[in-house]
């Protein structure tokens, strides 16, 4: 009898580290267990959160040894998805296991700028906006006092993310693939008894980056990177005769707009998440990274959505990464109680996890959450063959 497939989510505080242990076959058709690792990251580095990576990576090693990772997937370029392995190597010199093959989101490809200059131009605009917003937040003392701003600033830091992504590109230099919807990945993975299909992102990520409207109250011009990094931000004070209460209300809304600018940056990267369906023994498992509504709508427009037995809940349970009911019905139909994993942490992000969203998912699937275990520990979901 075939063993179940096991999906293990580690509590990395706020981030994802998902290990999928797949009962598979070797080239001769003999049973062989293969390992799929998705992400490993955490956004709490500046507040000591990186300590958890030692325990998590060691636990992954313990779970798979003597084997290595057959396929590693970096869903998207956010610190809470990419930082863990690089941080581990920083403190432990090297990873305790080998990684044979790597998938990364299409827009992380080194030649992406040459192939999709428009997308990169839009992405760079967001990066410049990030630097200026970071300085504005610092000038207003919000980068340390407002947890929501702190979280967004840290998670979207382009410099830190770039360093981690560069490291991930070195894990399996000759077998690193930058994947997107429509790509034939049948020969780009090691599994003999499973079929993988990439549902998202679109290869051209221009739409993800360019659709964001400027933050309505942002006083920032369209700064180039250099100007943005040296932006001389000051906190305004009211003029004589101006209604002070109204003035500070306006200033506060401008500051909130700063958050909105950061959210725009955050959403764009989330929508570049690799979303893939892992079909094994007549069971479908869906891993969605942090894909948000735009990505879901595109998947639906491409008629990709179909019922699955398992869902890795997107974006740590936020309301903007789980699709509306009519789309949710397509992947988790009511009455066919599926299974889902939530990898999250309370007080990590404003409104995450979202209780209403979880309620909607729980009406369709049994949800297991990393919130129920200590950091460094894990929860498992098993899916029997169909």
């Amino acid at each position: 009898m075939t063993a179940p497939i096991r999906i293990r989510a580690y509590n990395v505080e706020f981030g994802d580290a998902i290990l999928v242990t797949v009962p598979d076959e070797d080239d001769q058709g003999h049973p062989k267990t293969r390992q799929l690792l998705i992400d490993v990251g955490n956004k709490n580095g500046k507040r000591g959160g990186n300590k958890v990576f030692g325990a998590v990576v060691d636990a992954i090693h313990e779970a798979i040894k003597p084997d290595g990772i057959d396929l590693y997937v970096m869903t998207h370029e956010h610190l809470d998805h990419v930082e863990g392995l690089a941080e581990y190597v920083k403190t432990h010199q090297k990873l305790p296991f080998a990684i044979d093959r790597v998938w990364m989101t299409a827009s992380a490809a080194p030649d992406y700028a040459a192939r999709f200059p428009n997308a990169i131009r839009e992405k760079k605009k967001l990066c410049s906006m990030y630097y200026a917003l970071a300085r504005l937040a610092a000038a207003q003392g919000l980068d340390n006092t407002d947890d929501r701003i702190f979280a967004l600033l840290e998670n979207n830091d382009p410099d830190m993310t770039d360093r981690c992504v560069n490291f991930l590109r070195t894990l399996a230099p000759t077998k690193t693939h930058y994947v997107h919807r429509g790509m034939d990945v049948s020969k780009l993975h090691p599994f003999r008894t499973a079929r993988l299909a990439v549902w998202a992102p679109e290869e051209d990520s221009t739409a993800y980056y360019a659709r964001k409207k400027e933050a309505p109250f942002s006083a920032l011009g369209e700064l180039d990177e250099k100007a943005a990094r040296t932006y001389d931000a000051q906190r305004p004070i009211p003029l004589a005769g101006v209604d002070v209460s109204a003035f500070y209300n306006l200033v506060e809304r401008r500051e909130l707009s700063l958050m909105e600018g950061l959210f725009a940056i955050d959403k764009a990267a989330n929508d570049t998440s690799v979303v893939f369906c892992f079909e094994w023994k007549r069971r479908k498992l869906l891993f969605v990274g942090d894909a948000e509504q735009m990505s879901w709508r595109m998947m639906d427009a491409n008629n990709l959505l179909e019922p699955v037995s398992f869902l890795k809940i997107g974006h740590h349970g936020s309301h903007n990464a789980t699709p509306p009911d009519e789309l949710l019905q397509k992947i988790l139909p009511k009455g066919q109680q599926g299974k889902a994993i939530l990898s999250t942490c309370v007080n990590g992000y404003n409104g995450v996890p979202d209780e209403d969203t979880l309620k909607r998912i729980k009406s369709r699937a049994t949800v297991v959450s990393t919130q129920d275990v200590m950091p460094g520990s894990w929860v498992d979901v098993e899916i029997e063959p169909g």
Partner: protein, 574 residues
Amino acid sequence: MRVPIIVKDLSTQERKGIEAKDGFEEHEIANEDYFLDGPVSARVAVLDFDEKTGACRPVPLTKDRKGYEHGPPPAPNSPVSPEYLSVSVFGTVHKVMGIFEEPDTLGRRLTWAFDRPQLLVVPRAGEMANAFYERESRSLQFFQIDDKVHHRRVFAAASQDIVAHETSHAVLDAIAPDLYDAMTPQSLAMHEAIADLVALHCGLRYRPLSDKVLSDMDGDLGKASSTAFSILAAELGEARDSRANYLRDISVKRGLPGARADYAPVATTKPHELSTVLSGALYCVLLQAYSATRADLETKPTPQQEKLIVAYGDGNRQHGIWRAALYLTTQRFKRFVFRALDYLPPGDATWIDLAHAMHACDNAYHPDADALRSAFADELVNRAVATTTELELPSLPSADLIAGMDLATLLGSDWAAYEWVGRHRVELGIPDKVPFNVRQRLDVKKKVYHRGGKTASPRELVIKIAWEETEDNPAGLAIASRRSVTRGTTVAIQWVEDGEKSRVIAHVTSYDAKRDREARDELLLRLTDEGRLSRARGAASKQFASSELYAEVAGDVMTLKGGARLLHIVGDDT
């Protein structure tokens, strides 16, 4: 205080060959308690946030040779310095407020829809081809972009059209605050159309421009479909898209689906695009009124009109007729459109409600001069906005409605107002057993002009009453299965000191049309589909993402808050 204000904008001035000295006008601001550097008055404060640092710096007010308190003049070759911009936008905002407060418009002092005395105005709000009014921040925001073709920085605040338009949103919010929370596309489009018509009105009052246009058209404004009057925000429009000559042209001939064949159909829930049907209709009325007035002046001017022709003519009778006709038409049109806004019923007022309000208001003081009313009705019917039957005004309630009622008590006492409304809810059209809310009670004194130069200053008591009605949401809208829509009624009473002679002169109640319910369905579904409408956690006005709209939900009933934010903030522009 007198301040210089930029008229129309630089592009229009260049296109029409208007000399630099005529590119601005001096506007006198009266009726304010104080003026301070900023500029700041009791009701308007300009906040110039430095583009480089975000710091807020006041623009000093200086005195010129004439002794007027005056903003600093523009630097050579730089007519839109931050200082000049601040002073100009300050003056323009006050100018628009003044248009509404004039005795022959609303005849009352405006107070903002929000709970503070000052409207904050940010002339350099950031890098975007946009401008907007937002009640939650009590502010007008004007943005700026580079015009890469003409190699200049273009400020939305340097366009009188744009400043007038956005200020009108704030003013309309003060007059009809429910429109801000409307979920009926026509209600939102009405906000937009009125704002465009105020911008048009400002242009019509600008003598150097009107002289050029009248001269180019040989006094016949209908000669070309589009003129420098009908084109709004030329400079920003050009900077945003070098192939465009403007941001808006209100002369377009458009109608709703089912309109006469020569009107281009507009089937959308987007307020900007939809608004062009209404503004286009009213623009046509304006042209017809001008044409009729000009013909009158040419053939049978009254002695007073004759004086006006001579005064405007500068020795040229033909020019005097054109200018006088334009002046008289502009004033009459202002009274026809803007004065009626106080008669709008509360809630999601539709264009039929507006037509009823305009008809009632105009009829109250000009019962024998129905040319504008008929022209507007024809335009609405041609554009399939309404049928002739729908435009008919219900008959006024009987005199019993105010019999024995002391109007001063009705004005001053909340208890008396609720008691009176409760007693007359059937005559007032309030549905049975529905709780109602007595809204504004306005005491206004208007100036009314009659043919032959006679004027009158009637006093009015205007009472507004609102209530909520629920209706089903369309299938597929996950937020809630039902929604609450605000509706209402407005009663205008001519207030004569001898109470026996006071009489109801207008009664306008929300008109319920199936197509408006369907349009609400369509709007909510579209916003949801576009990911721009979500359920509020707490009060919608306190929600975080200012680029989204929020629905407040209680039980399984929702209401949309801040729908007017679609007008510019949330990016629903065409």
